[in-house]
Symmetry: C2
Subunit: 383 residues, 2 copies
């Protein structure tokens, strides 16, 4: 079968942006088309990953607006929402549009505009994705993170500092990412002394509220080959759900949907965890990087923290994780994050990652919705 | 290539429902699985067509909730939004999931819960899909309908009564639909004497605000054949956009996205308009039935109104349109409507439409987002 290739990729600056969702989407969309040297009217399908433009801005119908703004009409367009995993779900939708033969050239643009709302308001929009029973009891995603972190530290004898070291590593990586929201180093003491948000997690264990957008251009590999420019391949992709009620999970330290979705992605690509050279994991909270690094098979259960302590996941380690800076330092505009993960892998595999460059033929991205309620795993590799 | 089959279909009662979006989606989803005799844990992909559960109810993440409620975890799931064409876009997403080989069994559930909000509030949520410049000037979808209707009547010498006859026909059809919101006949005088909403259109030219849900179960035709039960085939499907700013269209009486999307659907199915035996058109406003019946090639431009006057589109006419009662009488729960159109075609083609039954091998559904900003056309036919 003809595989699905990525022939263009882009991302806007992440951070506080004086722009509306439409501006951000158009900015990334245009830059992605330019990156591939493709005219907007060649786009056949246009997918927009976005969780909540209606709730954040009172603006819906953004895919139609974007087709208009880019000059892509009469391309078919649709919005993909899978909460904070909307970006990964968008990659899957775009992949399916090409793999099914429905589209020969599919543009995916993910984005979110959040910072014009207070952090409390934004957290409330995000919390609306949880089970009403959880929400009514005041459980938000950060509080799940705190509870899970405490359990993980207890269960696997991990030091609290190991979590802090995730933040330290990802901030260090973000220093070299011109698109990152935070480009400053932090040390373990700064993380450990920052204000408590959800015990034992502190401010620096959390990703920020962010505006931003990212885009990918996909086509059949045969078409990419004809075009002659460098490209990468989405060799495997899979998605899965876990229980919608978090307390129903047998073991809160096992992210079941990441296990399932990565199994599916590996099977499609005929790959194993050992084949992965670089990974972008959904570090919305530091604890999530441990859970995913174990769930996708990089490390044994309860061993993820050791890899961070030992520098295995550093940029110069055996398996660099979140070379982009991750959600922690790069920022987390919900609908953009999963797309930006693939942007980083595409750059790494192409050898275009500049000062962040590592040696990589195969990259893996794990994009998480809710508290692992739905996860999409994507493998990006050299042709 | 293995085509995509529909092996199960369902819809809930449409109308004012004492239920939340989750209840409605689960009701249709369960009934659809029962219709096909398939267990929930066999579902591989689950798509939810829904425009605005966040805006209407403050509840997001409904696909994850539905996977949980149905017992479909760890199925992959995602929400599809394309405003009032979310249902048609959901069919396209579900079709792509099967046609790409990503899923062997895909459940699509479309739904919306709207009536707990006032009509003004609901209209405001819907209006958020328009271009901000239009919205700021107070232009809503009903006002576009009024302007377009006036132009159409003028341009093609159509009598005002011809629009009323769309409402009369569709209400008559709805009488025999146990799921319809309005099951009462209306006559031309009632429509013509009803309060003006957007001159020349009156109350009975508009579909109501509705709660409801509908579902389809899709798989490769080879699998459907093995299962041995009756099924239909999605033989063609296509989507397209038109300008996001309505006044930029060269001719407001031509629905460009319906022209494009139906061309694409016919091409995929190797069909022509003449092959279609029964159609469900998006009669959110009576004028839209004329525009679509012309755009998809049933009638020449400016001739759609004559077909209604002459009874061609009646249930016992040559080309029955909206045998379900259409959005006009059946109701229009945004995310459900496109799915419910395909439900009606599936029933008609299978010969299961009871008192609404017409002779049909090939059916066409046209689902419209915004004021034709995006349209999806689907062809459902006998194997």
């Amino acid at each position: 079968m003809d595989r699905v290739a990525i022939i263009g990729a882009s991302m806007t600056a992440f951070g506080e942006r004086e722009a509306w969702i439409r501006d951000l989407l158009a900015e990334a969309g245009r830059e992605c088309l330019d990156d591939a040297g493709v005219a907007p009217d060649e786009v056949e399908h246009l997918y927009v990953s976005n969780m909540a433009s209606g709730e954040f801005e009172g603006q819906t119908g953004v895919p139609n607006a974007l087709a208009h703004d880019l000059g892509a009409v009469p391309a078919y367009t649709q919005r993909v929402d899978q909460t904070s995993a909307s970006g990964g779900a968008g990659i899957y939708a775009a992949w399916q549009s090409v793999a099914s033969g429905a589209s020969e050239l599919t543009l995916l643009v993910g984005g979110e505009k959040m910072t014009h709302r207070t952090t409390a308001e934004a957290t409330d929009v995000i919390a609306s994705l949880t089970h009403p029973a959880e929400y009514k009891h005041g459980v938000t995603l950060p509080s799940f993170a705190g509870l899970t972190a405490r359990r993980y530290l207890h269960e696997y004898d991990a030091p609290r500092e190991s979590l802090a070291k995730v933040a330290v590593k990802n901030h260090r990586n973000g220093l070299d990412n011109p698109h990152a929201q935070f480009r400053k180093e932090v040390d373990v003491e700064t993380v450990m002394d920052s204000p408590i948000v959800a015990d034992p997690l502190r401010l620096y264990d959390f990703c920020p509220i962010t505006d931003g957008s990212a885009a990918l251009l996909l086509c059949p590999e045969s078409v990419a080959r004809e075009m002659g420019a460098p490209y990468t391949v989405v060799s495997g992709i899979g998605g899965a759900t876990d229980t919608h009620v978090v307390h129903e999970r047998a073991d809160p330290t096992v992210m079941g949907a990441a296990v399932e979705s990565s199994d599916r992605a590996y099977a499609m690509a005929d790959r194993e965890p050992e084949d992965v050279d670089v990974a972008e994991l959904h570090d919305m909270f530091t604890i999530l990087e441990f859970l995913q690094s174990e769930a996708v098979g990089f490390f044994e259960q309860g061993e993820g923290w050791k890899a961070v302590e030992e520098g295995v996941t550093d940029r110069d380690g055996d398996l660099p994780i979140n070379t982009s800076g991750g959600l922690k330092s790069k920022g987390h505009p919900l609908g953009a994050s999963g797309v930006a993960q693939a942007y980083e892998l595409h750059q790494q595999v192409l050898g275009d990652a500049g000062p962040r460059q590592v040696e990589a033929e195969v990259g893996l991205a794990c994009n998480v919705g809710g508290f692992g309620n739905c996860v999409t795993t994507t493998l990006v590799e050299a042709p």
